[in-house]
Symmetry: C2
Subunit: 233 residues, 2 copies
C-alpha cells in the first residue's frame, strides 16, 4: 500500500507517519519511484504498536524509540525486551525521587523473587514507600490527637511493609505468572514481542482502570449514590 | 517554622516552595513581618502530598492544582474527591484516543458495578481494549500462518472481553473493596482526603511495580537467568 493508505489504515496523519519514518520509529518501505515507496502489513502493525504505546501506554516518542530499537535487535532475549518495556513504562510514571532501596531488597527476599538489581520496578516501589512514609503524621506533631495508624499505612518495619504490600502482591503474582506461562515460546519473534509489550504496558493500564471502577462502585455502596455531577459542590 | 526550614523539611528548594505559594498550590503562612511568614505542620503535610503526587503519581502541577482545589473545598464529598483523584490519574495516563464505549458499558453491567457514566476509568479501559484490538492480526493477512488466537487476546465478543478482563477484575475488586471499607469515616477531613488520594494514586503505582517484579521473576524462572546486563546484546 502507499503512504496515504497506510496512514489511513493506522488512523494517523501522513505527516506523523513521515515523521516516524524520519526518526527511525518506522522501517522504510520498498522504493517504487523517486519519493515513493510501498508499505506492507509489517508497517501497519508497527504503527499500531507505536500508537498504542504513546496513546494508551503514555510513553514519549523517545521511550518508544528505545523500545523499538530493542525489539528490532535480533540478539535481544525476550527477557531483555521485557526489561526495556518495564523501563519505558517506569520512566513514564515520573519516578525521579531518590528512594531508599533497603526495604525493597528485603521485601523482594520476603517474596522469594529473583529480580535484577537494576530493575526500574524496584525504584518505583521504593518511591511509593518513601512517599507514604513522608505523608504519615509524625508522632511528635500529634495531628489533632489522631493516631498515625488510622491515617497512613505504616512502612517503618519490615513486618509493616509485608502487611501493606502482601495483599497486592498476592493478587498480582498469579496473574503475572499466567501472563508469562501463556506466552507461546515458538511464536515468530515480531509477534512474540508485540504480545509481551502489549501484555506488559496495556494490561497495566487495564488493571489500574479496573481498580478505579471497583473503588468507585464500593464507594457508592458505602457512601450512597452522588446525584450531583462531580464538579458541582 | 520559616520558609527555609519548611523547604528543607519537605525536601524541596525554597524557589519551588515560593512558586507553589504563588500559584496557590500551597496556602499562605501567618505573616510575621514584611515578606516573612511562619509556616506550620499543615504546610509541610501539603508539600509532601504535592511532592508525592508529582514525583510518584506522575501528575502535572495543573492536575495537582485541580485536585488540591477539590480537597480544599469543604462542600465536596469524599466520592467527589475520589472522582477528582481518578480523573487526575487517568489524564496523566495520556489517554487521548476516542474509544468505543459499548463494550465497557457491557462489561460494567457484567460485573454489576455502579459507576458514573463519565468516569475517566471507563475511557481508559475502552482505550486499552481498542489498542489490543488494533494490534490483533487481521484474519485476512494470515501473518505467516500464525492464528490470531495465540498472539493477541480476542476482544471481539462480550464473552472474549469477560475472559480477558475477569481474572484482573477478580484480583483487584477485593482489594478495592477493602480500601474503601478500611477508610475510617470519622477522620478529620484533611487526613481522610490524604488517605484517599494516597490510597488511590500511590498504591496504583505500587500495584504496577509489584506486577512487573513478579513478571520478571516468572520470566527468569521460565527463560533462565540472564547473566548479561539488559543493555548488552
Amino acid at each position: 500500500m502507499r503512504l496515504s493508505e497506510l496512514s489511513r489504515a493506522a488512523g494517523l496523519s501522513p505527516t506523523t507517519v513521515k515523521w516516524y519514518l524520519r526518526i527511525g520509529l518506522l522501517h522504510r518501505g520498498q522504493p517504487t519511484a523517486v519519493n515513493q515507496a510501498r508499505y506492507d502489513d509489517s508497517h501497519l502493525r508497527r504503527l499500531r504498536l507505536i500508537r498504542a504505546l504513546i496513546e494508551v501506554g503514555g510513553l514519549s516518542t523517545d521511550e518508544v524509540g528505545d523500545l523499538i530499537a530493542a525489539i528490532d535487535d535480533p540478539h535481544r532475549s525476550i527477557q531483555n525486551i521485557l526489561a526495556h518495556a518495564h523501563r519505558a513504562s517506569a520512566a513514564s510514571a515520573g519516578t525521579k525521587a531518590a528512594a531508599s532501596a533497603a526495604p525493597i531488597d528485603d521485601y523482594i527476599r520476603h517474596r522469594g523473587w529473583r529480580v535484577r538489581a537494576d530493575s526500574p520496578a524496584r525504584r518505583d516501589l521504593a518511591a511509593v514507600l518513601d512517599a507514604i512514609a513522608a505523608l504519615r503524621p509524625q508522632p511528635a506533631s500529634g495531628a489533632a490527637g489522631v493516631s498515625a495508624e488510622v491515617t497512613t499505612p505504616d512502612t517503618t518495619t519490615p513486618d509493616a511493609v509485608y502487611s501493606l504490600l502482601d495483599p497486592y502482591a498476592d493478587a498480582v503474582e498469579p496473574l503475572a505468572a499466567a501472563e508469562i506461562a501463556n506466552t507461546p515460546a515458538d511464536l515468530p519473534r515480531d509477534l512474540l514481542v508485540e504480545r509481551v509489550v502489549a501484555g506488559t504496558i496495556l494490561l497495566e493500564r487495564a488493571i489500574a482502570a479496573l481498580r478505579r471502577l471497583a473503588q468507585e462502585h464500593h464507594a457508592t455502596k458505602r457512601y450512597g449514590d452522588p446525584k450531583a455531577p462531580a464538579d458541582t459542590p
